[in-house]
C-alpha cells in the first residue's frame, strides 16, 4: 500500500560527515542541552551551568574547526547541503571568536548589582507587579545562552550553505532567537519590546523576499543548489526566462542586504541596536553582519557570478548610498548606541565596495575580494565588541546611560575607558596602526582591482566625513567638561576580558596583520 501512495519517496538515511560538521553540531547540541538544563536544574545552579556549557561547547567546536582546517578537509558535507571551503573556515572561526566574546558580556552581573542585563521576567508587562516580583526575587532568564547558541549555529550554517533551502532554514534559525533576545532588556523595556517587534516584522518581510527570490531562481534553474544555478546562468545565453533570473536575483539580494544593513534596507538597525540589551547589540553588530555578508558573497560569487555585469553596478550604487546615509545619519545622533548603529551602516557600505570589486581570480599569494572582506570583518568585529563592552560601563543611577552628553569629560573620570574607546573609534575611522586601517585599505584594494577605482575615491571621501563622526566622541570625552551624575561602573572580568582582547587585537591586526592576512588570503577562494 504505502509504496503505491508514496512512489517516489525512498527514505535514505542521511549521511553526515560527523567530524567535519562537528563545529556546527556541537553548538546546536549545546543549545538543545541548555534548554533541557533550564528545565531540570534549580534556579541557583542554572547560570553557572549554562555558562560552563556555552564556553565549553564553543571551545570544543573551535578545537574541531582548527583540527579540520589543519587537515585541509574541504568539500561538500551533509549530502551536498553544506560547503566546507576557505571562507567557511575563516568565517566560522571569526563567528566562534566573536560569539564567545559577546557571550562573555552576556555573563556580566557585577556591573548591575548582581543582575544581568536581561529582564528578570521578559513575559511580564513592563511596570506591572509581576515584573516587580520577579525583580525582587532576583529571577533571571538563563535561556539567553541557549538562544545565543542557536543564533550562532544558525549563522554558521547560513554562510556555509551550498543550497538555498538550507540557507533559508538557517536564516530563520538565527533570526528568531535574535528577535527574542532584542526584546529582553532589563532597562527601558518598552523601547526594547518595540525594537524586537520592529525587527521581527521587518525581518519577516525580508525573509519573505528571500524565499520568493529562491522560488524564482528555482523556476529559472530547476534547482536549489548553488552550483546548479551557476551552471544554469552560464548556459543561459539567449533564454527567454531571464526575467525569472533577474527577479530572483533582486529579491534574494533584498533578503540578504537587509541582514547586512545596506541602505535602503537599513531602517531597522538604529532602533534595534538602541532597544536591544547592549550585550545582544554587540553580538548582532558583528555576528549577524558577518554571517549575512558571508552568505551574500556565497550566493553572488558562487551562484550568480555569471551575472556580475548586472549586479556590480547596482551594488556600487547601493554602496555609495549606504556610506552616505550611514555617515550623515550618524552625524546627528545623540545616543552612543544609535551612533554605533549608523556607523555599522556606513561600514556595510565600505564592505560593499569590496563586494562590488568581485575579484576572485588572482595570482597565488595575493588576496581576493573575499579575503579582504573577511579581514575587514575581523578588524571591525574586535572594535565593535570592545566598543559595546565599554558602552555598558558608562552608567547613571538608573543604569546604562547612552547619551553622548553623559560621556563628556570621561577622560578625567577614567582615562582607561576613554583611551580604549578612542582606540576603537580610531579603528572604526580607519586611522593607521589600528586594524580598521588595514581592513579599509584591503577592501579598497579589492574594489580597485575589480575595476571600480571611482568607487574607491568616493569611499575615501566618505571615510573623511566618517572620521569627523568618530572624532566627535573623542573630543567629547577628552575636551568636554565632566558630565554630572554619570560614573564608570565597576565591571567584572566578563566585561573587561572581551574589551581588552578587542583592544589588543585591534592593535595587533593594525601593526602586524601578516598572519591573519595570510590566513584570509589562503582562505579567499570559494568552492563551487
Amino acid at each position: 500500500m504505502s509504496s503505491i501512495l508514496l512512489p517516489a519517496l525512498e527514505m535514505a538515511a542521511p549521511t553526515l560527515e560527523w567530524r567535519a560538521l562537528a563545529p556546527v553540531l556541537l553548538v546546536f547540541a549545546a543549545a538543545c542541552l541548555g534548554i533541557l538544563l533550564d528545565a531540570v536544574l534549580p534556579r541557583a545552579y542554572r547560570f553557572l551551568a549554562q555558562m560552563t556549557l556555552v564556553f565549553a561547547s564553543v571551545a570544543l567546536s573551535f578545537g574541531f574547526l582548527v583540527m579540520n582546517w589543519r587537515a585541509m578537509r574541504q568539500g561538500r558535507l551533509a549530502m551536498g547541503s553544506i560547503m566546507l571551503d576557505g571562507p567557511t573556515y575563516f568565517m566560522w572561526a571569526s563567528l566562534l571568536v566573536f560569539g564567545t566574546l559577546a557571550f562573555m558580556i552576556f555573563s556580566e552581573r557585577q556591573l548591575n548589582g548582581g543582575a544581568s542585563a536581561f529582564a528578570a521576567s521578559a513575559a511580564s508587562v513592563p511596570g506591572s507587579l509581576e515584573e516587580a516580583d520577579a525583580s525582587a526575587a532576583r529571577r533571571e532568564h538563563t535561556e539567553v545562552f541557549p538562544l545565543g547558541l542557536f543564533a550562532l549555529g544558525g549563522m554558521m550554517v547560513f554562510l556555509a550553505s551550498a543550497d538555498l533551502i538550507v540557507m533559508f532554514v538557517a536564516l530563520e534559525v538565527f533570526s528568531l532567537p535574535l528577535y527574542l533576545l532584542s526584546g529582553m532588556a532589563r532597562r527601558r523595556r518598552l523601547l526594547s519590546q518595540e525594537a524586537a517587534l520592529k525587527y521581527f516584522l521587518l525581518g519577516a518581510f525580508s525573509s519573505g523576499f528571500f524565499l520568493f527570490g529562491v522560488a524564482m531562481l528555482y523556476v529559472f534553474s530547476g534547482s536549489f543548489d548553488l552550483h546548479a544555478i551557476h551552471e544554469a546562468v552560464a548556459g543561459n545565453a539567449f533564454s527567454s526566462s531571464n526575467g525569472l533570473l533577474y527577479v530572483g536575483l533582486g529579491f534574494l539580494a533584498i533578503g540578504l542586504l537587509f541582514k547586512v544593513g545596506v541602505v535602503p534596507f537599513h531602517s531597522w538597525t538604529p532602533d534595534v541596536y538602541m532597544g536591544a540589551p547592549t550585550p545582544v547589540t554587540a553580538f548582532m553588530a558583528i555576528c549577524t553582519k558577518l554571517a549575512a555578508v558571508g552568505a551574500l558573497l556565497r550566493v553572488f560569487y558562487v551562484a550568480l557570478d555569471g551575472e556580475r555585469w548586472n549586479w556590480q553596478p547596482l551594488f556600487a550604487v547601493l554602496a555609495v548610498i549606504t556610506m552616505v546615509v550611514g555617515i550623515i545619519g550618524a552625524l546627528t545622533q545623540t545616543d552612543v548606541k544609535r551612533l554605533l548603529a549608523y556607523s555599522s551602516i556606513a561600514h556595510a557600505g565600505f564592505l560593499m565596495t569590496a563586494v562590488v570589486g568581485a575579484t576572485q581570480v588572482v595570482p597565488a599569494g595575493q588576496g581576493t575580494s573575499a579575503s579582504a572582506i573577511m579581514f575587514y570583518l575581523a578588524a571591525y568585529g574586535f572594535a565593535t565588541i570592545g566598543a559595546f563592552g565599554l558602552v555598558t560601563l558608562v552608567r547613571n543611577a538608573a543604569g546604562e546611560d547612552n547619551t553622548i552628553a553623559s560621556w563628556a569629560g570621561l577622560a578625567r573620570k577614567s582615562p582607561w575607558v576613554a583611551g580604549l574607546m578612542s582606540l576603537f573609534m580610531l579603528s572604526f575611522a580607519g586611522i593607521p596602526l589600528t586594524a580598521g586601517f588595514i581592513g579599509k585599505w584591503a577592501v579598497f584594494t579589492a574594489a580597485w582591482r575589480g575595476g571600480y577605482g571611482w568607487l574607491v575615491v568616493v569611499a575615501v571621501l566618505a571615510s573623511l566625513v566618517a572620521v569627523y563622526l568618530y572624532l566627535r566622541l573623542i573630543v567629547v570625552m577628552f575636551a568636554g567638561e565632566p558630565a554630572k551624575g554619570t560614573y564608570v561602573g565597576n565591571a567584572s572580568g566578563w566585561t573587561w576580558i572581551p574589551v581588552v582582547i578587542g583592544a589588543v587585537a585591534t592593535l595587533w591586526l593594525g601593526i602586524i596583520p601578516d598572519q591573519v592576512m595570510q590566513l584570509a588570503t589562503f582562505a579567499g577562494g570559494f568552492l563551487r
Binding site: Q366, G367, L426, F444, V457, L461, V475, F478, D514
Partner: protein
C-alpha cells in the same frame, strides 16, 4: 645579519613614550623622558657616522606578504638630515616644556606624547615602502592631536579638530593613490609597495597624473601651501611652543620630504607635467605667507605664517629641477627646523612671563630683558635669512638655482625676501624697542632668560651659525639625494650662460 640600527632608532623613543604612560612620579617621568630622547639622539648620531662611513643600514623584512608590503627602512642624505633634526629638536623641546601650562594635562603625558611623536616621525623619514610610509605619516596625527587638545590655548579643541581634518583630508586622498599604486604595480607584474620594486613600474598617462595628484595634495596640505594652509596658524596659535616647534619644524617637513621622495620618485613624468603650476603656486605661498605674517597680531601666528612663506621657497626649489635649487631646498628643510624652533621657543619664553602671545602686550622689552631680546633678534634674523646664518645659504641656493630656469618667477619670489625683513623687523620693533610699557616692566624686570632657557638656545643658534659659515658638511650630505632624484626624473641642469664669455 647586522644589527637593525634604524629599527632600533625609531623604536627607542616609542618604547620610552609607552613606558611613560605607566603611572610613575612626575620627576621620574621627566627624567626618564629626557634620558630616552638623549639616547635617541646618540643613536641617531651613531647612524650618521655609519652612513657617512658607507655602511649599508637598510632593513627589509616582509610585513604584509599578501600585499607586498615590507618593513623596509633606509636613509639617504635627505632622510638622515631630517632624522638628525628631529633627534636634536626633541630633547630641546622637552627641556623647554619642563613645566607645561597649568590647568592642562600633566608633564608626564606631554613627555610621553612627544616621544611617541618622535618615534613615529623618525619612521616616516626612514620608511622605504609606500604603505609603511603612509602608515606612519597618518599615525603622527594622533599624538599631535592630543598634544594640541591636552596642552593648547583657549581654542585648542577647534584648532585640533581643524588640524586633524585638514591632514586627514589630504591623507585619505593619498590613500586612494596608495591603493592605486598597488593595483597598477600588480597589473604590471610588481605587486609590491617597496620603492625599488616600484621604480620599474611605469605610471603613465592620465592615471599616473591622478595618482601623483593624490600624493601631492596630501603633501601640499602638510607643507602648508596657500590655499590649504589655514589650519597651521590656528594650530600653532593654540599649541604650546614645544608642540608648535615639532609641528612646524618636523611634521610639516614630511610634506616637502614626500614631494621629493614620492611625487618625484614614483611619478617623474607626471611631476614634470605639473611643474609650471607648482612653481607659481610656490610663489603665491611665498608672498601670501609673508603678507599674512605682516598682518599677524599674534606672535605664534606670525611665526607660522613665516613658515608658509619659507615652505614656498622649498617647493620652488624642488620644482625648479636643478641640482643647486633642490640641494638648497633640502638644506632649507634642515635649517628651517632650527630657525622656527628658535622663534617658537623664544616666543614661548616671552609668553611664559606675560601670559600673552599678542604683539600689543609687549613694548620696550630689550631695555629690561636684553638677553631675551637679543635671542629673539638672532632668531628673527635667521628667519629673514641674514648672511652668516644658515637659512641664507639655502635660500640663496634655491634662488640661484631657480633663476637659471625661471628668471621671472624668481624675480617675483624675491619680493618674499624683502617682505621677510618687513615682518621680522617690524615685529622686533613693536615688541622689543621703544619706551618700556608698564606691562613689560611688571613682567620682565629681573626676569630675563634663566640659565636653562639660555642653555636650550645655545645648540639651536649654534647650529644656525655653524651651518651659516660652514654649510659644506650639510650640503654634501644632502646633495646626493638631489642628484639621484634629478637623474631619475631625467632632467639636466641648464648650461650656464655668461654674457661676454668667449
Amino acid at each position: 645579519m647586522t644589527f637593525p640600527w634604524l629599527t632600533f632608532l625609531g623604536l627607542l623613543p616609542l618604547v620610552g613614550g609607552l613606558l611613560l604612560l605607566l603611572p610613575m612620579g612626575k620627576g621620574a617621568a621627566r627624567t626618564l623622558g629626557l634620558v630616552f630622547s638623549i639616547a635617541t639622539l646618540a643613536v641617531a648620531a651613531g647612524v650618521t657616522v655609519l652612513h657617512v662611513t658607507g655602511a649599508d643600514l637598510a632593513v627589509q623584512v616582509p610585513w604584509i606578504r599578501a600585499f607586498g608590503a615590507w618593513w623596509a627602512l633606509d636613509v639617504d642624505g635627505m632622510g638622515l638630515a631630517m632624522v638628525l633634526m628631529t633627534a636634536i629638536l626633541t630633547p630641546l623641546v622637552l627641556l623647554a616644556e619642563w613645566e607645561p601650562p597649568a590647568n592642562r594635562w600633566g608633564a608626564q603625558a606631554f613627555f610621553a606624547l612627544v616621544l611617541i611623536l618622535e618615534g613615529l616621525s623618525l619612521f616616516v623619514f626612514m620608511a622605504n615602502d609606500v604603505l609603511l610610509f603612509y602608515l606612519f605619516f597618518e599615525a603622527t596625527l594622533i599624538p599631535t592631536y592630543f598634544l594640541i587638545v591636552g596642552f593648547g590655548g583657549a581654542r585648542r579643541g577647534y584648532a585640533a579638530v581643524k588640524f586633524l581634518l585638514f591632514s586627514l583630508a589630504g591623507g585619505l586622498i593619498m590613500l586612494a593613490s596608495v591603493v592605486g599604486v598597488y593595483v597598477v604595480g600588480a597589473s604590471q607584474g610588481a605587486p609590491s609597495y617597496l620603492l625599488q620594486d616600484l621604480a620599474s613600474v611605469r605610471f603613465d598617462g592620465d592615471l599616473g597624473r591622478w595618482l601623483m595628484l593624490g600624493f601631492l595634495i596630501a603633501f601640499i596640505v602638510k607643507a602648508p601651501m596657500v590655499p590649504l594652509h589655514t589650519w597651521l596658524p590656528d594650530a600653532a596659535e593654540n599649541s604650546t611652543p614645544g608642540t608648535a616647534t615639532l609641528l612646524v619644524g618636523v611634521l610639516d617637513k614630511i610634506g616637502t620630504f614626500g614631494m621629493i621622495k614620492f611625487c618625484l620618485g614614483l611619478f617623474p613624468e607626471a611631476s614634470l607635467w605639473i611643474t609650471p603650476f607648482m612653481v607659481w603656486f610656490a610663489v603665491v605661498s611665498i608672498i601670501w605667507g609673508a603678507l599674512g605674517a605682516i598682518g599677524s597680531r599674534n606672535l605664534m601666528r606670525l611665526v607660522s605664517y613665516t613658515s608658509v612663506s619659507h615652505f614656498g621657497f622649498m617647493v620652488l626649489g624642488i620644482y625648479a629641477f636643478t641640482t643647486t635649487s633642490m640641494t638648497g631646498s633640502i638644506f632649507y628643510m634642515l635649517n628651517h627646523g632650527f630657525s622656527t624652533a628658535a622663534m617658537f621657543l623664544v616666543v614661548g619664553y616671552l609668553a611664559k612671563r606675560t601670559g600673552s602671545y599678542d604683539i600689543e602686550a609687549y613694548g620696550g622689552v630689550q631695555k629690561v630683558a636684553p638677553v631675551a631680546a637679543g635671542v629673539l633678534l638672532v632668531s628673527g634674523l635667521a628667519t629673514l635669512s641674514l648672511p652668516g646664518l644658515a637659512p641664507f645659504v639655502s635660500e640663496f641656493m634655491v634662488i640661484a638655482g631657480t633663476w637659471s630656469r625661471y628668471p621671472i618667477v624668481t624675480a617675483v619670489s624675491l619680493l618674499g625676501v624683502v617682505l621677510a625683513a618687513v615682518y621680522i623687523l617690524r615685529m622686533y620693533q613693536r615688541t622689543m624697542t621703544g619706551p618700556v610699557t608698564d606691562h613689560t616692566a611688571a613682567h620682565f624686570t629681573g626676569r630675563d632668560l634663566t640659565g636653562l632657557e639660555k642653555a636650550i638656545m645655545v645648540p639651536i643658534i649654534g647650529v644656525l651659525l655653524f651651518l651659516g659659515f660652514v654649510p659644506q658638511p650639510a650640503v654634501q650630505l644632502v646633495e646626493p639625494t638631489a642628484q639621484a632624484t634629478l637623474a631619475y626624473v631625467g632632467t639636466t641642469d641648464p648650461a650656464p650662460v655668461v654674457k661676454g664669455a668667449k
